[in-house]
Symmetry: C2
Subunit: 375 residues, 2 copies
């Protein structure tokens, strides 16, 4: 038995792996691509799982998992659609085990599950489609907190930022959902591409977007539940006020006042954004929740400053915006929350979409609210 494949077959093989195990496998595995998006917006998915008894496609454009069919080589496949153009998470369920698509390098950054991403572009570019317009820069940075150590953050600066030596910009702080990472708002939410396109169309003000990591790890463990949990909120608030905002304002040309500071977030991170935004009027006059995570018994505690003086709150906030999908499991509790806001006379805008607790809705929410900010 040869430990190494020959040099030529190695270098020309598609699976450039490094261990002898992986290389031996590569010799046997049938070659194919997945996913394949066709011109008619149907999509073919394939997975090599020779010993599996049942494989299903679990995709967020389908209401239920779709059975896949095995060929004689052990490759399971299914073609679905036409699918409405968008970018969707999906995975395969192999005899009850959920796995990402090994053939697809577009991966949903997450600490709790692994999904792949499929983009159906369609004939007209969408607001999150990469287009030939001026592009901003995504910076992967670290900042240091004595409490939490070296922390990652992703910062979007708009097109032209580097060349405009003195121009200052407003800042949107944008929190991901529970189990997501600081990359999720760009890799799944396309926040950078959405802003590139909106700025190119003159619809949004050029702004900086700061995307922190929303869990106060290692103080709050990675398996500790929602980001809107009280203990996490306290740690994140401290980190945010003492380290994150100072890091941003020392390292970027920002307009450092509450007229030019917005906070938004999705799901558990929407709980964070409302908590930070509504209790710190000196910091934020723009507060946004995308299907924000909240519990009814926490409304009063988490909104204490805003609820204490509704008319002052209305004077302070330039925009208080909440988006949620009708099929979102949080729609009922968010409905209760909106009713409380109405009862108290706290002004807010709502945007009720179709669909559920998804990143397709996040892209829609961000592209809807971004044109309203800092105007």
């Amino acid at each position: 038995m040869h430990h190494y494949r020959t040099f030529h077959s190695f270098l020309t093989g598609v699976a450039l792996c490094c261990t002898t195990v992986a290389m031996a496998q590569a010799a046997r595995v049938p070659q194919f691509s997945s996913p394949e998006v066709k011109a008619d917006n149907t999509v073919a998915f394939k997975l090599y799982a020779p010993a599996a008894k049942e494989v299903k496609l679990s995709a967020q454009f389908e209401k239920a998992a779709v059975p896949m069919t095995r060929d004689s080589a052990g490759v399971w496949s299914v073609t679905v659609g036409p699918v409405k153009p968008d970018m969707y998470p999906y995975n395969f369920v192999v005899d009850g085990m959920a796995v990402a698509d090994p053939k697809n390098s577009a991966i949903f950054p997450n600490e709790g599950f692994q999904n792949s991403l499929v983009e159906i572009t369609g004939s007209t570019p969408l607001v999150h489609t990469v287009q030939n317009v001026p592009h901003g820069t995504l910076a992967y940075r670290y900042y240091t907190s004595p409490e939490l150590g070296t922390r990652p953050v992703v910062v979007y600066t708009p097109p032209g930022y580097e060349k405009e030596g003195s121009k200052k910009y407003p800042v949107l702080y944008l929190f991901h959902g529970t189990t997501d990472l600081e990359e999720t708002w760009t890799k799944v939410g396309r926040a950078n591409i959405i802003l590139d396109n909106l700025i190119a169309q003159g619809k949004a003000v050029p702004m900086i977007i700061v995307m922190p990591y929303g869990r106060a790890y290692p103080k709050i463990s990675k398996s500790s539940g929602s980001l809107r949990n009280w203990d996490n909120l306290q740690e994140i608030k401290k980190d945010f006020l003492d380290h994150m905002i100072p890091f941003v304002e020392q390292n970027y040309r920002v307009k450092a006042d509450n007229n030019n500071r917005a906070v938004a977030g999705f799901s558990g991170g929407g709980g964070t954004s409302l908590f930070l935004g509504l209790n710190n009027p000196d910091l934020f006059r723009w507060v946004v929740g995308f299907a924000p995570g909240m519990l009814k018994e926490e409304f009063d505690r988490n909104n204490a400053v805003a609820f204490a003086n509704p008319s002052l709150t209305n004077q302070r906030l330039k925009l208080f915006w909440i988006g949620v999908g009708k099929e979102d499991m949080l729609y009922p509790v968010i409905g209760d929350y909106l009713k409380v806001l109405d009862d108290k006379g706290i002004k807010h805008e709502t945007f009720i979409s179709e669909g559920g607790h998804t990143w397709m809705n996040c892209k829609l929410f961000l592209s809807t609210v971004a044109p309203k900010l800092f105007k």
Copy 2:
């Protein structure tokens, strides 16, 4: 059957998924973490695969795949080591199907396979360990090529770059291996962290590192074999000279001369770096290959300019450096190549390490050669 779990259990559950399918699964799946690195450098790996007949751990610190054991809940596990401190790729082989670790958000960016990453830090920080030193910035950018469209590139600028308004820097162009992506040199190779640490220690000159996407997609398909294939080299050369270098030199404060321009690459991308470096002496005086991909019958063609006049080549090059591991499958052909260089009298430095065609070696090679550059 309930389509949605209750609100409270949803928000506090660790698997904040969005589809009813995933949510129903989450209710049944046992909770655990993977991998878990222990204080004694042993590592526990776990995978939920209730219907699998055989699950193995395929990790690059083991010579062969290690069988895992199933518990009554369907969770397979194994504890291995102590493992020599480093960061290693691994995956699970489930009845012949290779999958990444669904519990681990550290993923090896690759178009050909999916591996996870496990970091064993040990008691002393390694050269690629994130430490409390000044950190550079990683910028995810796009540039546009009429031939290849909107292309991604990752650019490392050293600590302090943003604050030093006029200082100019040398540039290292750094190519990934075949099937890797523009993120692989940072997420797997830790190029940014290695430079942060070497700069903090005064061992390396502060430099910019440009990490392009090395495949001329869509002209050259993603399944077209090694990056050092001739057709890919021609397209990448054109893109590199006409678009990549101009993009970098227009957008960053660089010393734009061949004394301050280096090119390096791993595997198929090492073939690219030698091809670009040795045939363009006006551009590069620092040429580096990390286990560079090459075929014996291509030596003359791919090195035409350097081979045409060895003494002139020796005058032009300040450093021609090649690193390779003794267990690398490319070691024999690289040995042949080094003999040709000796026969022709072309000066070069070699660095022969233990180990194979791995990113553990890439980190070692980069941290070894970076202190030699631009001095």
